[in-house]
Amino acid sequence: MTETHAGRFRSVVVNPSISILLPFLFLLTMGTTASGTVSTILAALTPPQPDAHLFSGWFFVLLLLVQIEESVGAFLSHQERTGYFSRVRELALLIVSVYLLLSLTRTGTLVLRFTPDAAEITRIFMIALGWILSAWTHAKLGNFEAFFRIRADHEGVALHHALRQSSSVVGESRRGLLSVRRSASVYLVLVGMSFTALWFLGLPPGSLPFAALCTFGVGFVAVRSALNIFLDEIDYAGDGLRLSLGRIRQRVFLALAIGAVALAFAILLAADRSLLPFDLLLRFMNWLLSLFRGVPTTHVLPPPRPMTVSTNELLRRYLLSRPTGPPPPWLTTLWEVLRIAGIVGAATAVIIFLFGPLVSRDFAAFLRRIHPILVLVRRAVLLLRWVRARARSFGALLTRLLRPLSGAASKDERIEAGSRRRPPSQSRKKRIETDKVRQQFARIVEWGEQREIIYYDVLTADEYAERVVKLFPSLGTELVRLTAICNESFYSERVIGDKRFASLKETVDSIVRTTTAD
């Protein structure tokens, strides 16, 4: 099947962009919001720590890098999604590497340099959370690329049959989209409820988490509508219908328009005051409680003022209330044995988990294939071809607009214009030969235009020869031979050969030698 410009654009630019940008947008907002929420809660429950800001900037960058790598790198390097374990392995290796690298910049003793504090552990936890969300979403969207590939090569009944043959891909793809959509909704509700609960508890989150929440709100609507479009696409494809890029574009523009209007409303109407006083709700709840007999008359109180509860304080109270005294010797020995066994076991598991795949056969095969580089090269070549084709089309359009039916084109421009109309399936030898024939024909045109026989792009060689014959009837034989060779070269798949080309050149030479009109 010959790939059209639109099809190539879609396969090279649109589909990878969808696969990369959509999860990235979703994950970035979701991960940032999750981190903001968790950090707000932790900040509220733990006392302030002076060293908390040490790695904060770097770790924020790391957080972004992790998600970018997960969104972009995973797509480019793996194509198909890898499993959860390999994702967690990547996460652990990346975090440990970056942490060790950053620890070198610290001051103090060697042990202190590499000992993480509570704030850093919190941020590592946030990074891990964002990563896991990314990996999960990517795994869910994995089959969608396979669906794209199946759909790209088929249409109509053939598409219907192809998807039926790959029903598992379609089913998994649809389930994945639905799952991501559902999880995004649940996640938004959970985060919203957390923020509201924090406000009720008198612990309003900072401006950064709020900004992240608002961003996630917009991203959520965008992602949800995109997922709806994809779901529609799958449903229509199941019926053998393939949606054109123009229709998808139109729908996306309309969705953006609705989103923009909603955004404008939100910007205009949002303020630090509610439409109704919160006391009204409290009074209503008190009235509701008073309707039930036997319930003692209580009053629902407004949200308390912000207060900080320290887990360290709770821990200290617990330790103080604990009975004192040395543990029995057998317990101490058992505890020590268990501790050493636990450390050894954990270390062994971590080593096997992290570095086990490096000695596996699959990894060796992966190295042999050098798959990521091949994919990158292939994608780059396709992209370059698409850009070149677009540039040529744009150039042709500009030329047509600026020079409508004028005879002022140069010889090179004519040859180039003829090359653009060439069918794409010609061999290299045929292309070179056709260009040479075009050069000879361009000589005739140049010669003719010096005698005011204007050539237009829309004219064929025959039509132009007819105009020439009107002024130069004696050249009839030569022109017939010329147009026969030109037509054969321009419109056939065959190579005309050196003899015919020599004949053509000789004919052109004899024509251009004619300087006077009959």
């Binding site: 608002c214 053998g240 409303f265």
Partner: protein, 416 residues
């Protein structure tokens, strides 16, 4: 509205109404606006859409393609990016062409069309039309069913048959060379008198002017009404390939009707078979004039199906078309052995008009049936079109009483 949307509305409204924090207000207003705008969009495009069929009845012959067209009009300003259209074509083979996705701009009209091919004769009901669309964000998808019905009448295949035109009644529409059938309403020329000419044909004025007797000549033409008796008593056919042979008999009868109608002759038919109705009836009350017209047509068809499966001898293409429609719907039925169109025709005492031809189409007649038939009709004007069931005798063009032609069980030449 779905439960999720209602939940989102409640949460958003709660945030807007009671939470005095700008970010939460922002979020509430944003989601509220998105939900309400999407809902309004979805309802607006649903209301502004109207659908109609371009043809309420389509008649085609077997294996002929029928073009089905549905017009979709968006009277509103809002464009509809995706509009999925599905026209229920029953058990007709559509090759999935009866579904599609269209895009409709504001105040615009689109035509959804596809082709059908009737592989079996019959009357088929098309519709309803099911549409599916949603707002651009896909939050409020809707699907609607338009009760637009139309009928596809698939006539049996018609093959060329040459009718014998040597006998008939004068003053018909078929030109012959036999001067016996001169049509005195169809003047041709004047020639010199030849002894033996009818004196009434002498043109005295011209004779006086020329001095010799001149006789008027008229064009000879005959008419021969055709009555077709089609036996669809399944019991009369061999069990082997019974369906094929009954279908072939129906196609032979249709070909005879078509040939007679093309010659401008009156034609009638009598069938022993069951006339089937339409598989699905129009149950919904008519919403528009078009629906009312379709309901009336459906009722007429139902009434026709209940009527006797015969048509009197009459002239004209509309009458021939009605007979073809009857043949499109008739089914073979099991009756007591011996009961067939011959018996009905003889027992009814009906008389054929002068010069009429009788064509029997069906399996080979028994001796008793032949005797019955010979006592009621002119054997010279009767042709038996026997369906070749593989038991054809070698000397078979004349059975002693009637002229016999054999209906082939396959091929484009339907009779020998």
């Amino acid at each position: 509205m779905s439960a999720g949307a209602i939940f989102g509305l409640i949460i958003s409204a709660f945030l807007v109404l009671f939470i005095p924090l700008a970010p939460m207000q922002w979020l509430g207003v944003f989601f509220l606006a998105v939900i309400l705008l999407s809902k309004a969009y979805s309802v607006a495009i649903r209301r502004s859409l109207s659908v109609r069929r371009n043809d309420h009845s389509i008649n085609v012959f077997k294996f002929q393609q029928a073009l089905i067209e549905i017009s979709l009009v968006n009277r509103g300003m809002l464009p509809i990016p995706y509009l999925s259209v599905f026209d229920d074509a029953g058990n007709l083979a559509t090759r999935d062409q009866n579904r599609g996705v269209l895009a409709l701009g504001g105040n615009s009209e689109a035509l959804f069309s596809y082709t059908l091919k009737g592989y079996n004769r019959g009357v088929y009901e098309l519709g309803p039309v099911r549409l599916r669309a949603s707002d651009p964000l896909g939050l409020f998808p809707w699907s609607a069913t338009w009760q637009l019905r139309s009928f596809l009448v698939v006539y049996p295949s018609v093959y060329p048959i040459t009718l014998k035109t040597d006998h008939g009644v004068p003053a018909g529409t078929v030109r012959v060379w036999n001067p016996v059938y001169e049509d005195i309403t169809n003047y041709r020329s004047i020639r010199e008198y030849v002894p033996g000419d009818d004196p009434r044909r002498i043109n005295w004025k011209v004779s006086a002017r020329t001095g010799t007797l001149q006789t008027m000549q008229f064009l000879p033409a005959i008419g021969f009404p055709v009555m077709v008796l089609l036996d669809l008593n399944a019991d009369h056919y061999a069990v082997r390939n019974r369906y094929v042979h009954t279908e072939r008999a129906i196609e032979a009868a249709a070909s005879l009707v078509d040939a007679a109608a093309r010659l401008g002759q009156a034609v009638g038919i009598q069938v022993t078979g069951e006339v089937a109705g339409i598989a699905q009836s129009v149950a919904q009350p008519p919403a528009t004039l078009a629906h009312a017209a379709m309901a009336a047509q459906s009722a007429a068809m139902a009434a026709q199906s209940a009527a006797k499966s015969s048509a009197p001898i009459a002239q004209g293409f509309p009458h021939a078309t009605a007979i073809l429609e009857l043949l499109a719907r008739v089914l073979a039925v099991t009756l007591p052995t011996g009961e067939g169109p011959i018996q009905h025709f003889v027992q009814s005492g009906a008389r054929l008009p002068p010069g009429a031809w009788l064509c029997y189409v069906g399996p080979t007649l028994s001796e008793k049936q032949r005797q019955q038939l010979s006592g009621s009709v002119d054997a010279n004007r009767t042709t038996l079109f026997y369906v070749d069931e593989g038991v054809r005798p070698p000397d078979s063009l004349y059975d002693g009483l009637f002229r016999v032609r054999w209906v082939r069980s396959s091929g484009e030449e339907i009779v020998d």
